[in-house]
Structure formats: C-alpha cells, structure tokens
Subunit: 277 residues, 4 copies
C-alpha cells in the first residue's frame, strides 16, 4: 500500500536551542520512500542515521524566533505477512547477541518487576507469535485507553497497576510482559493509517523466529498501515522530538492518507514484519 | 477458646533510647485478658491507651546496656460469628464519620492507584462479606508468600505488581482493594494460633454492616484463633515496636498455645468479629 | 482580623452521586464564625463534625442534573502569636498519645524514606520552631512552585526528587521532613487571604511545645490571614471534595476579602497557632 | 600496572539452565590480557563479543548438578591520564550519534526526574571533567555506603531520596546526574584493585571531549587500578551473571593482586580513560 503522510511542528525559541527530531520514515527493505520533502526554514539540519536501528535523526540549531518544521513523504509499504501460528519464539539460549539488550529492563519497561505475574499468566501458553497476541489481548481488555491518565514518567508497572494510559503506555506494557518471558521486544514510533485523530503512534515489536514482528496492543491501527519512524528500547530512545535550550513547542499537525487504489482491507490476522532481520 | 501467649524482645542500647511497644493483647469486649505479666527489667514503662483504637502502647526510656522485654498473658477469645452471606456492606453514603478515614489511602495502601482494577475485578460482585472474601481469595491465589521479597517500604501497589510478599503485604493489598471499592478497612496486628514458625501476625478488618470483621488473605491463621494487639490505617500505625535513639533489636521470640480443652476446630466459614462496633 | 470568604462549586450528576465536602470554616477557639450561609439547592446536606480534628463534613446525595453548592461566611481570626525563638520541640519520649500518629508516614508523606536526608540536613539544628522554619526555607529555595508539575499521586518523595509542585506538595514535603525528625506534623486546608488567584490553600502544622503551629513553605500566604477548613495526616484526609458515583466537577470559584478596617500588616515573624491544643 | 585477578562462581542447577556471564576482562587498547584461563567444567561455553561495547559474554547451557565456573587472568593496564582541568564537555549539539543513547534515561537512571535538581545544583559549574568530579563529591558526601540498604529494583531516584546504597547505586546516581546535564554516561563493571572485601566493582564513565573517562563516586578504588569487564546503559546491561531456568548461585569468590613491582601509588588526580574512543 501507498501512503502520503507528514507532520508540521511549530516551535518558539527564546534564545537559542538544539532540537533533535526523529520524524522521517525509516529506510527499510519493506517500506520504500517514493518521495520526501523536509522544510526547516532557513536552518540547515544535520543528519544522523543510526546504523543499528535505522533511526534517522535530524539535529537543528535554532536561533531565537518562530520556526516551523515540516516533513512530507510518499511511502510504499510491503510488509511480510506470515501465518501467525507458524511463528515460534527463539529460546534465550539461542538469541543472537544483537537482540539480547532487548530482554533487559529499561526506563519505562521494568520487566524484572512483572516477572512473576508474566510467568503465572502467560508462562503456560505455547511459545510463539500467538503468545504475544495473548499479551496484547490481555492489555487491550484490561487497560483503559484514556488521554490524561499518564505522563512522561509513567512506567509499565504504573500502567499495570493503574489500568489506564495511551498508546505509548500500551506499548511499554506489551514490551515489558514480553521481556519478562524472555522474548526480546522494542518500542516503535510510527505514522499509522486510520488513527483518529491523526497523530504519531506508538506500537512495539517482538523478536520471534529470527525477525521483528509488529504488535499494537491498542488495536487502533492495522499493522499493514504502519509506516515506521524509529525504534529503541522504549520511548526514551524513540522520542519524535527532544529539546535542549529555551524552546517551546506549539500544537503540531500529523497526517496520513492512502494514495493507491485499493479495496477495503481485511483485518490483519497474520504476523506482520516491516523490517529485515 | 483460651490461649497462653507472649513474646520476649531483647535489645542493646548504646547510649539511651526511647522504645514504643504495642505488644499487649488489646482490651475488647470479645477478648478477655485472664492474666498478664509484663517484665521490663529495672525500667518503669509509661502506659498509653488509645481511646479510639484500643491500642495499648508502652513507652520505655532505656539506659545504655542490654534489655529484655517480656510479656506473657492468658486470654479468652469469644468472637462473634455470623453467617457470612448475611453480612452486607454499608454504602459510602451511610458510613459513620468515625470509620470514614479508613476509606482514605494511606502509607502502604494506595487505594487510589488500584481503583480501576478493583472496580473492574470486584465491582460487579454482590456487596457484602463474600465480596471481601473474594478479594482475599484473589490475593491468596495470585501472590506468593515468600520471605525476603518485600521490605519496610513495600506498598500494596508494589505487591500487586510483584506478586510476592509476607503477611503484612497481604494485609495491605486486602485493605487497599477494599478501600478502592469504598469499603472501610484497617490493619490489625495480632498473636495467631497455629502460625509456623510462631511470630506476630498481620491481618486486616473490613467494616461491614455496622462492625469490623476479620480477614486473613494469607490463610495461615484461623480467625477464631486470633488475639488482637493493635490496629490502625496500615503497618505504619500498628508496629509492634518503634525505636528512637541508638538501639538495636536482637532476635525475638513469640509463642502462643491453646490452654483450654477442646476438640478439633472446624475451618471457619462464618464472618468473624472480635471487637465491639 | 475579619474576612468575608466562600466558594461556589458546580457539579453535573449523570445518574446519582454522593458528594462529601469539607469547605466550611472550622470551629476553633481562635477563629470565630460571625455568620455563614450554605446553599445546596434542593438537597438537604447531612452534617458530620469530627470530634478529634474539628473537620466539618457535609454529605450530599445528589440526583441527576446540574447542582451548585455555595458557601459564604464572615470569620474573625485571632491567632496566638508567640516569639518563635521561645517555641521548643517536645521529644518523642514526651509526646501525648493523641499526636503520635502524626509522626507516622502517610499516603503522601513517606517520612521513613527521607529519614537519612532529614537527619543529615536538619538533625544538627537546635530543636524548635526555628528548625521547622529552616525546613520551610529549604523547601522554598529548592522547589519550583509550578502548576502542572504534579498530580494526585505525587508523594513528598517525588517532590523531593523532582523539585517542583504546588501548595499541596510543598505541605507534604514539609510534613514529611518534620516527621522524619520526630516532629508531629499534619496537613491543613484553608482559605488564605491574598492568594493570587484566589483558591483553596494547603499549608501544614507542626506540633511544638504543646500546641499546633502553622507553617507555609510556599510563602504565598501570611499566616495570620489563614482561615482553617480541615486537617488530617495529609491531603488524603483533607480533600475539600470527595466524589462517589457518576459526578463531574466544573470550574469552581473561591473568594476571600478583608472586611475590617486595618493598616498594612507586617510580615509575620512570630510563631502562629490557630487552634487550641 | 599488572594484575592477577579472577573469580569463582558456584551454581546448583535443579533441572537445566542457561547462564550468561560477563566476567572476562574486556579487550581494549588500554588494557592488555597477558594470559587468561576459563574453566567451565564439562560444559562448552558459547562466546559472544559485543562489537559496540566490547563486552564479552559467555553463554552456558548447564545440565542438572553442581557447577563451578572459574576465570583467572593476568592483565596489564595502561590508562591514559590527562590533566583533568583541560578535559572539556562536548555540547549536546555536537555529540556523535553513537553516544547519544547515553543521555537517555534508563532502567535505573531516571535522569528526567532529577533534571531540575541537577541543573540547580551543578548547572552553574564550568562544564568539563571537574563538573563530573563535583557530582561524585556531592554523592560521596551525602550518600551512606551501606550494604543491605538497596536491592535490584533500587533506582537512582530512590538512592537520591534515601541517601544510602552500594557501588552500583553510587554509579547509577552519578550516571543519572550526568545525563540530566546532557553529559553522556554509562555503567562499567570491573575488577578493582584494593577493594575490601574483594568483589566485582561498579563504577561509571562520562563521555567528555571525545572519549570515555572513568569515575568512582564511592572513592573505594583508584582509577588506575581498574580492569574493565563490561559496560552498558546501567546495571541492567552489565550484570556479571544472568540466569534462566532452575538455577541457584552460591557464595562466589573474587580476587585481584598486583603482580608487577611498584612503589606506592599516589592518589589519582588526573582524568583517567581506559578505552579507546
């Protein structure tokens, strides 16, 4: 499928500031950027592409004044879809070293603290993609999606206890429960087709059977309508914007439209992967 | 039933210290102290009895040196037992003012944070003694009783997430889930017949239908073998010993034996109350 | 001094709800209610006055619909003012039993966790009213007063670490540091003259030399312009409104004007107490 | 300097287990492994060396029974030492992408929560190696080194509030305060000469002026007597042992002796770096 997407981020800088953005569609074998345009006004951005994650960072040195950063792209996504029931887990004993950090607890994903719960609740299920889907179902049925119930300090343990949050919190809890079972998992920021209202979306990936598979515990986006931006251990690594200095953000705008002709999509039932292993 | 019980608490004081103890059997219409003996060595204790809770505090001013505090008593308990299915809850709208503080969150019982969970899980059950029993069952089935998994800073939210604790933590979680539903609940410290190894025991009370009923989420003690010591909002109010100054406790000893003749007790199925309303 | 004060609280009730309010000026030997008026519309409030704290609770059973609760009063305050340097602390060894719960940690005041800090920072100061003033100065100089930096789950330990909060957080931190030193302290909700914008105000009291003395770590109100409403272990006990059922609050209004003729007040330098011991 | 060091780790495996160890001296341009020996009994270890951190992991699949893992090495360390006053900080605006994750908060290093404090306390100091030394001094003077005061869930915010911990906690707090100021910092596990009793030691590195510099907020080890093992965002990444399965550790032994001839060392006053940039 093909999407036209983008965002517009206005800022006011009092003195001078450094802004690090992670808003551009990731380059990946399974999503092709047909065209893209970045407008940073009179400021020349510095580009940094992380070789490991593929995250594309922009660093901008902004002088005092009003600034609007605008990004627009047309992206073709062609995720791999597999029969979920055939996707197995890889035992800890066989994980490659590159994915091992993703079983460690992180800022928002205190997998050590939820280990007993995860093992009692999901430890008896057959290892595999379906077990991670069971985790997403558990979250979706028990956590209220409600704006204003969490903030930037909210951990997955808070969400587990308080049973409310937004997409970021749902992802953190999903990641945490996976790691507690020994399944590597990471945070993914994205554009998501069909999200109402349009916004950046947080989902997560679990490493199963040799590659990363997408999951969305909020069930708000279809996984084949995802355009990835960044990934990391949790939201601390994959913020779309980080500010340093006297800078204030103003209300932003995000959009995403489908630009190819296509019939109604069926609900995804397959395992979906959008990055090469 | 009639019990012989007591404790022996050794201390080393480096300089001088104040010790506040809450180890004596409470005076209550439903437990009668047949005899008791307190040995504080050469130190004369100051007695303070809390008119509201009935807690009996001893305050001791200890000079440098070795001290052993010894308490022994014979106590007759005659709890009220009622058919649990007949014990109803009192709606918040009708609670007397004296019990209202026991629906507020406290140091270890963050009932505000577990409100959504409590209402999703237990909100649909018929209000009454059986609903509090359902809470105790839930805790007993999902939390591991394991020494060393908690400490003096552990809250009920920690226990809810980490799924392990000791009697104090089980009580805190029971209290918390009750309060989250609008049921007044408080912490009770006690001597408990049959506990292995013998120790002080923490249980809790919920205020239902006009009086306080005992509950033990650990299921380690039978409720008609409880001799109450103190009560309060949580363990912060009902410590058996509080130290001020350069004082160190050494291993203590607690005992409790049945002293009347009696057949085997049946497992308690009734609602049990050991204090007058 | 004499003040005209009050509040107006609008609510929307979807089905039916119980509302518990603590908005009326407390009755105390040192503040005299010259006149007061409560308007609860067609609903008859139930009155509950706590014998220990003097808190005056109103319980209202509200049917579906729009409701406005309005309270207005004229209050004369005549606080006791003493030379602060003469006000001593009472050692734990001599505290009366009624104030002992106020050295225990509570929901928002985790005095056990800040004990080492408090003793390192304030342990060497001369015990007395001036030491509590030193605590207030410490807070005032190091914590940013900033709306939106805390929420209803924020504890004094959070505020200690994050260094930002509102009056409620400043009070909790003051109380916590006092208790960590063995000084009984409690939360006080109030009307405060000169507060901009007008609002309910949270301050705290420390028990020194036989009575409760007022402190305001925010320095936003003068202590002789305080009309007390309620008090308790922390904000969990002294909420101005607690809701049960399908009820939503709308923006409220609080006011307070001086109604006697008076010259400019001097900044308070004395120890101020507004309740009888 | 030249050291003979090693460790002996005994385990009991009930059924079967996977053990991941990170106990071997790191390979680095500034520490040379003259000889080393690993004894894993009848089990063949799988080796994994992280290209980014240089961490050397051993993965062992242990059958039921008793196991002893023994590692011994002779290592020559030749750290770069520079005049600390000449080592500057690199502004966030100029950090290379590879070190940028080390300004993000992590499991134990909640740098977002201590940002106001760090900027108030250290924000006015001249950026550079001396500022990180000021952070270490601050920690060393205000936090008690005391076993038993922390556990595996203790974060730097806990340590900041509770003012007690062990080497791991001191490192976490140092890292956290650095990141809060925009200074990349990471956790380092090591063998440390002169530690009493001998044990693994946790220290940290800050990225200054183009390379990683060592710091030890505990002041228990001299920085030129450190042999690095692993590094990572915090202790979650650099555990010396991670267990999966039914395995229990027994008391371990760690040793480190100086094996070259040398006079008394002077206290280190220079900036010390043991890894190539």
């Amino acid at each position: 499928m093909q999407f036209s997407l983008g965002c517009e981020l206005p800022y006011t800088v009092a003195d001078q500031a450094t802004l690090i953005l992670n808003i551009e569609a990731a380059r990946s074998g399974r999503q092709t950027i047909l065209s893209e345009e970045l407008d940073t006004g009179s400021v020349t951005p510095e580009r940094m592409e992380d070789g490991v994650t593929g995250n594309r960072f922009l660093r901008l040195h902004l002088p005092a004044g009003e600034h609007v950063i605008r990004y627009a792209a047309t992206v073709e996504v062609a995720p791999v879809k597999l029969d979920a029931s055939l996707v197995r887990e890889t035992p800890v004993a066989e994980l490659p070293i590159a994915v091992m950090p993703f079983i460690n607890p992180s800022r928002y994903c205190l997998s050590d603290e939820l280990a007993r719960f995860a093992n009692r609740e999901f430890g008896g299920l057959e290892p595999g993609h379906d077990r991670v889907t069971a985790i997403c179902n558990w979250i979706n049925e028990r956590v209220d999606y409600e704006r204003g119930t969490s903030d930037t300090t909210t951990t997955a343990v808070d969400t587990f206890a308080m049973r409310a949050g937004v997409c970021r919190d749902f992802s953190h809890l999903g990641i945490t429960l996976c790691r507690a079972l020994g399944i590597p998992a990471r945070f993914v920021s994205s554009y998501a087709y069909g999200l109402e209202p349009p916004d950046f979306h947080a989902i997560f990936e679990a490493w199963l059977d040799g590659q990363w598979y997408l999951f969305d515990a909020t069930r708000q986006a279809q996984l084949d309508g995802i355009v990835r931006i960044g990934s990391g251990r949790d939201a601390a690594d994959a913020a779309f914007a980080s500010h340093f200095g006297s800078i204030m953000s103003k209300p932003m705008r995000v959009w995403m439209d489908r630009t190819d002709v296509g019939g109604e999509r069926e609900p995804t039932i397959e395992a979906v992967s959008t990055v090469a292993a």
